[in-house]
Structures are given as C-alpha cells and as structure tokens.
C-alpha cells in the first residue's frame, strides 16, 4: 500500500491513520502495528520538526508485506539527513542525570526495525526498513 501526503498540520495524524489502514488490510498483529505506528510517527516527527520541509513538501509511505516481513519505504522532501551516520549521539548508556531529555526517536526506529538504509536521491530523503511479523 502506498500513500503520498502533503506537508501540513495534520501530516503526522494522516500518516498514523495510513498505518492503521495498513494494519487492517494485512491483518498485522497488534504488536507489529504498534511498532510500525511508532516508527512512522517518529519518522514523520523528524521530518516535520527537523527537516525544514517547505509548504509544498510531502512525504511518501509505501508498505509491503511478504514472507513474514513488513517493508517500509519512507520518503520526505526535507533537507538532507542521513540517520545512519548522523543521528543524535546515543546517550542511553549514561546515568539518567546525564542523559538529554530528547533524542529518543531514532533509537526506537533503529531497535524496532532491521535492514535500515538511507538514500538521498532527487532532492529527497529515502529510508527503507523492515519489521519481522
């Protein structure tokens, strides 16, 4: 299933709604739906909050389910950002008092998924990842 969503105040909501439709269409288990929803919310939040997307920007979501794997392709038109090489420093190993209050989105995406890859192409960020069903 694919969906192209225009940048706007309801973008995250619309993306999460799309994931719910995907979950129903493929009868995904509640835990898989939970993980996929969380990943998509984090991806869209990053695009919206850090991607400096323009008013005419958009995201694309493409989910395929095959052979016990759900594959997600996520595209945004924000500024170039490679989450594999440049994600915020992981401080989860530090004592609570020394940790930042934020920066928890990418660790969630990375630990909940496999085969995370990034590509900058045609002025767009493209992230692909997999989830075991």
């Amino acid at each position: 299933m694919q969906r192209k969503l225009q940048y706007g105040p309801l973008l995250t909501h619309e993306a999460v709604e799309f994931v719910e439709q995907v979950g129903l269409a493929y009868s995904l288990a509640p835990t898989v739906r939970h993980r996929l929803t969380l990943i998509v919310e984090e991806l869209v939040s990053n695009s919206v909050n850090h991607g400096k997307m323009k008013a005419d920007g958009h995201i694309e979501l493409d989910v395929e389910v095959e052979n016990d794997i759900a594959s997600l392709r996520y595209v945004d038109t924000g500024i170039e950002f490679d989450p594999i090489g440049n994600a915020p420093q992981d401080d989860r190993h530090l004592a609570a008092i020394d940790r930042r209050v934020g920066g928890l989105g990418w660790p969630l995406i990375k630990d909940l998924s496999t085969n995370l890859s990034y590509l900058r192409q045609d002025g767009q960020n493209q992230i692909t990842l997999s989830l075991a069903l």
Binding site: H13, H34, L38, E42, R99, V101, L104
Partner: protein
C-alpha cells in the same frame, strides 16, 4: 490524569495514547503533579497500565519529570507497564531512569506502612 492519594504517595494513572497530539497535555499535567508533590513532601507512583502507546514525545515528558524530581527529594517510580510499553522502556533504557514494578501493589510496598495500609484499605492491595 487520575490521581489517588495514599498517605505520602500519589498514584497517577494516565490512560490512552501519549503521542504527538497528546504529549504536551500529558507533560503539563505530569509536571504539575511533580511540583505539587515536591511541595507536599509526597512521592509518585506512575501507574502506566492504562497507556497502550507512547512515542518519543511522551518519553521526553517522562525524562523531564525525572530530572525535575531529582532537584528535590521526590521519588517517581513506574508500575504496571503493558508489554508494548515494556519494550519501549527497554529500548530507551528507561528502567535505569525509573525504578519499575510489575504491579502498583508491588510498587507501593517500597513506601511507608501507612501508604501500604491506605492502599489496602481502598481495596487495592
């Protein structure tokens, strides 16, 4: 956010989803309780049994509450995580941020006898 008073312990029991739409309200309410409890010399058990979804904005709110509590003698512990929430806590290493308990009944045992008795008297123990 439901709040119940048991001697020196307040049990906070938020419900639903903590996501991009609700995290701001969640954080505001939580920090209000942190401020009130610190002033009243009380502690907080955050019963998360009613939370079935929390994205990083919710975790951020919890981390801010933790840091605020550290400025005082206030203790915040977490109880009754649902399995999906437990996974999020583990990934985020939040069991190093908050002492966590399987149940709220277990969590309250870490406080005074008066708190345990008040909790039992309310039919919760």
């Amino acid at each position: 956010m439901d709040a119940q008073d048991y001697s020196e312990v307040i049990i906070l029991a938020p419900t639903g989803r903590v996501d991009h739409t609700s995290a701001e309200v969640f954080q505001t309410e939580l920090l209000e309780h942190v401020t009130k409890c610190a002033a009243a010399d009380k502690h907080i058990i955050l019963d998360l049994s009613g939370i079935d979804y929390m994205s990083s904005v919710g975790l951020r709110a919890l981390m801010i509450a933790s840091k605020e509590s550290k400025k005082t003698d206030l203790t915040i512990v977490v109880s009754a995580l649902q399995p999906d929430m437990k996974e999020i806590f583990e990934i985020s290493r939040f069991h190093f941020v908050f002492k966590t308990f399987e149940t709220t009944a277990e969590a309250i045992k870490g406080f005074s006898d008066a708190a345990v008795a008040a909790y039992a008297a309310a039919g919760e123990g």
